[in-house]
Amino acid sequence: MAGSNNPKTITPPRWLLAELTYKCPLQCPYCSNPLDYTKHSNELSTEDWKRVLSQARKMGAVQLGFSGGEPLTRQDLPELCAHARQLGYYSNLITSGYGLTEEKIIQLKAAGLDHIQVSIQASTQELNDHLAGTESYQTKKEVAHLVKKHGYPMVLCVVIHRENIHQMPEILAMAEELGADYLELANTQYYGWAHENRDLLLPTKEQFEEAEAIAQAYKKKVEGKMKIYYVIPDFYEDRPKACMNGWGTTFLTIAPDGVALPCHSARDLPGLDCPNVTDFSIEQIWNESKAFNFFRGNDWMKEPCHSCDEKEKDMGGCRCQAYMLTGDMYSTDPVCSKSPDRHVVKEALDSARKSALSDDEQPLIFRNSKNSKKYS
């Protein structure tokens, strides 16, 4: 069994991502939630979340993300924020902004929330509302203003893909105008719903390069005023990302139903038996569970990773991506140019390009319960 009986230095979790719910008023076709999310509709109770927060904090977790779905749909959010502050977390609310009133913003601030990240889908109302599947553009812009008004640091997050990549100059200008302290330009990572819609979302190489050049130039222009985080599109790289900073080293995700995940899509990996916080403590999960030990260290690696002199740098890439694209979770992330499976990435790029150039593109599959039930 990969690694599970090997003594290894286990570093404590630093980052806890609390996915409070899969409920969401938006229907973004690039959502990273599982396709069959309606199957996992059980939600942890307030007391469960408080216990999880306390236990993870005790181990050393300090950054806390409240995410989802839309975390605002949880009525106990202010209570959880207060608990997090009392424990000494730096808490981040990762929201669509939909349903976030000024009253709530004030209430969350008083409870101790540190930061609000608002997502916007595009720089125009028409495209934003189309991608979100909900009329939300005006609300989002108002929310961005209110977040600043009440003294929070504001991160504006825009997920980038073929439908909006041409708006890069307008997206940058919009972020500056809204007074964002940080702009996260997150090139879509092809998991969950994005994987299903990949042919329609993956930009061409020319589009990527042009957009990146524009973003990098803007970075200089707004230096000292707005920080731009550019999340690279790994399909166009020749080395994989150091996924989660290494399996079970830093990041702990808790799904709405309490399943603890070492990586976003780890629930889908065969034989991992990801543990649930209703059965085990965070310490047991982090230190002793099969799932969190599965890909710790590098004993599990196959060639070309095992003998690669860069293996400490990227840890072989993402296990979920390797599984999704090659069917083998032990294989090298096919993004790597040394991977014998690199052709699957090339095929994905070619297929998306063909789709981009064709006249009769398929419609996007939106993330909603009706569509999710088809995958359950």
């Binding site: 050393g60 300090v62 730096y90 540190d114 640091p153 991160v155 302290d181 000292g224």
Partner: protein, 90 residues
């Protein structure tokens, strides 16, 4: 961006400076990020309380540690801190 010696320096309200028991270190926390500080950096930042100018911070630290000649190190660290947005001036 440079430090104005006439003005006081305060720690940015957009960041949080905090002792982390698990790491036995002071850290700066900000949206989705963390910087670990060594002891001297943390000491300098704790003196950026909005009541002191650069020179006054230097004097306070030299007194506290019964030493002299800290000005260059402190001002170059604070220049970086200003660029990173950790501190601000009115």
């Amino acid at each position: 961006m440079t430090i104005n010696p006439e003005l006081t320096i305060s720690f940015s309200p957009m960041h949080r400076l905090q002792w982390e028991e698990a790491q036995q270190k002071d850290v700066i926390l900000y949206p989705e990020g963390m910087v670990e500080l060594n002891q001297s950096s943390a000491e300098i930042l704790k003196h950026c309380d909005g009541s002191r100018t650069l020179d006054q911070i230097v004097t306070a630290l030299e007194e506290k540690f019964s030493t002299s000649g800290l000005k260059n190190d402190i001002s170059s660290f604070l220049e970086d801190a200003l660029k990173n947005g950790w501190i601000e001036q009115p």
